[in-house]
């Protein structure tokens, strides 16, 4: 076995104490989230803080946040694949796995938000015989189809390049694992027909997934923009959300890579230059994000429309000002200083910026969802919102669930595509 395979198969074997500890903690927190969800279903949606007028709250903002994170993978890996970026090879699978898990978690939030998750099928345009009040034009139906398509595509996009590695792994393992890998490898033999078909399919999939990824976050943005609510009804919301999603996606990818590099001792494969390249992308997206934010807020401010100015005022110098300026600091000031100055750019500062951006982007979702709903056009209907322990528990649990899923994935499958690593030359 060559050094590459030895290094990448090593993390798959055995279970260290630290790994067990991490799985246990993540598992417990995730389980607590399930308990809370059960409690919410049992007691009713009244146990959460959302109420008139803030009917979209914590769950929806976390939904938007996770869907944004999901753009880490598939979109970034598709762009790198289509542009033949040679340095992509240790990055792609790390990213694609984030997409699949973030989408699974993100897709869960609308169900939790529903309160009665068993009637989720109202979203599907089925033949309606029951004299309900179907709104065939609801953007929520778009959401369902968009996320379903993206999840299907992302799973396939993650799975296809895994097949050759699985076939190899099946030969190096025994027992249950061998059977698992054997089934999943579909009888891959490594013939040129298979390689040809795989490469062609990946090329096609990269193109398709790019179109889907852009549409998914545009549709999520349209959930807001289609409502004639102050500071939501904006034409740039689609691209604004897509840019924000790519931004937070790169941050999530950087953080995951930094953790994997340390935990799995893959310093030789996840090299400083990979972090450097992604840092530059993060820096670029930070500037793009600032541009969109400025365009959005300046238009509102210059227009001086009373209903919008209420929300604008509360966001920039009222109740939500601390969150707003923290967001600006996290999303722009920190990455711009740490990554913009070349001397400061390192793996450590990239990780710090990534954490900052993740916090900043979460706050951005918060600032989009909550202030607008708290200050509707009719002042008599104004209200306040604060999350209850149920909402906070469930949201925290999803972060633990993400960690748990990733830990299990990294234990079962090589986190770097071995065949691709050997095949793709540095460009």
């Amino acid at each position: 076995m060559d050094a590459l395979r030895r290094d990448l198969y090593r993390p798959l074997q055995g279970v260290s104490r630290r790994y067990l500890l991490a799985v246990t903690i993540a598992g417990l927190v995730a389980a607590w989230g399930l308990v809370c969800w059960g409690y919410q279903i049992h007691k009713g949606i009244g146990v959460v803080g959302k109420t008139r007028p803030t009917m979209w709250a914590f769950y929806i903002l976390n939904f938007v946040f996770w869907i944004g994170i999901s753009h880490a993978g598939t979109l970034i890996s598709a762009i790198l694949r289509l542009t033949h970026a040679g340095w992509r090879k240790p990055v792609t699978r790390v990213a694609e796995a984030i997409t699949v898990f973030a989408l699974m978690i993100g897709g869960l939030f609308p169900l939790i938000h529903l309160g009665r998750p068993w009637i989720f099928y109202y979203l599907i345009p089925y033949p309606n015989e029951r004299l309900l009040w179907p709104n065939f034009r609801s953007p929520l139906v778009w959401d369902l189809t968009a996320i379903f398509t993206y999840l299907t595509g992302s799973v396939i996009y993650l799975y296809l390049p895994l097949i050759p590695d699985l076939a190899q792994l099946a030969q190096h393992t025994t027992g249950l694992r061998r059977r698992l890998y054997g089934y999943l490898a579909l009888g891959w033999t490594g013939s040129d027909r298979e390689w040809h078909a795989l490469e062609r399919a990946m090329k096609l999939m990269a193109g398709i997934i790019l179109a889907v990824a852009v549409s998914v976050h545009t549709v999520v943005a349209w959930d807001f923009a289609m409502a004639v609510a102050p500071m939501w009804h904006s034409t740039i919301f689609g691209p604004y959300f897509v840019a924000g999603a790519i931004f937070s996606g790169i941050a999530a990818l950087l953080l995951a890579m930094a953790i994997i590099r340390k935990a799995m001792h893959l310093e030789a494969y996840l090299q400083p230059r990979h972090f450097d390249n992604l840092s530059k992308l993060l820096l670029l997206m930070s500037i793009v994000w600032l541009y969109f934010t400025a365009a959005e807020n300046l238009t509102v401010w210059y227009g001086n429309e009373p209903d919008e100015m209420v929300v604008f005022g509360e966001r920039t110098r009222g109740r939500f000002a601390p969150e707003f300026w923290t967001m600006i600091a996290c999303n722009f000031v920190i990455p711009f200083v740490l990554l913009g100055i070349r001397k400061l750019r390192s793996i450590k500062t990239a990780t710090i910026s990534a954490v900052g951006v993740l916090i900043g982007m979460w706050l951005e979702r918060y600032l989009i969802v909550i202030p607008t709903l708290s200050y509707p056009r009719l002042p008599a209907a104004w209200g306040t919102y604060s999350p209850t322990w149920v909402e906070i528990s469930i949201a925290t649990a999803t972060f633990a669930a993400m960690t748990l899923l990733y830990l299990i994935f990294a234990k079962l499958f090589p986190i770097i595509a071995i065949w691709e690593y050997k095949h793709v030359s540095d460009g």
Binding site: D2, P139, F148, G153, Q168, A185, D192, H196
Partner: protein, 292 residues
Amino acid sequence: MYLTGEFPDAASTVVAIEALKARRLTADDLDVFSTEPVELPAGILDRPSRMSLAAVLGAATIGLGATGFLYFTQHHYRLITGGMPIFSFWATGVITYEMTMLGAIAATFLFMLHESGLIWPRHGAPAPAVEPGSIVLRVHCPDDQVTETGECLYRAGAARVEKLSAPSRDRKGAVLPILLGLLSLSSSLPAAGRKPLPWDKNRHLGQDLYREHCAVCHDIAKPHDPKSKKPGPSLHRLFQNEKLPLTGAKPSRDYVTVKIKFGGQIMPPFIKRMTDAEVNAVVDYIESTGRK
């Protein structure tokens, strides 16, 4: 019958494929196995694909089908709208777009499985085990051309040529080909005692060299015939005969080796044309033909 030749690099694989194509084998009979994709020059082993077309057709089918279904469901429910249109074209447009993409994704995935042969293995052919880094060329050739094909593979630079076990008709599961692969891996181990093949490597090299350098003057298939037009004596059963044809001395490897290297009155010396190992291979070959 399936033969496999193991090659160290893509260049020698290309030589082998071209030689086999000259022997009227088509791209359909040839498969290259490797642990990483091998880039062969265009025109060597092209695999035409209809995957893009399939993706477009899948996209159109699912996209139109989903839109039709939406139209049906929205009209199916008699909503009182006061004469307003019930089917919202723009709102449905987003769903049409997503379902079109889903169709493209599904078609690409299914066609990938189809074209790669993962769901329908080709001829149920056995797959060779491949070591990381090496390239194995599998040839599907008629039973009566096995020897020639094997020689062809050797000449192109194959490090090892082997017969693959009989094609399996069982197409049940995905696990099966892997098991087959493992079986063939174990059969390639020396301890497994595989049947010696007619082109044992050294002898094959010797035979090739003999044909190139010696056969023009020396028969080897039949005893010496005075009417033969070949200038040299026949080497038929050279080492099994009592004495050598010209000198009458007792046959020995040393004598024959020296003779090949330095030549005789008529025979030219071959010391500059063949290495010691090659001369040795020729002597091996001459010796082995007599044993039959």
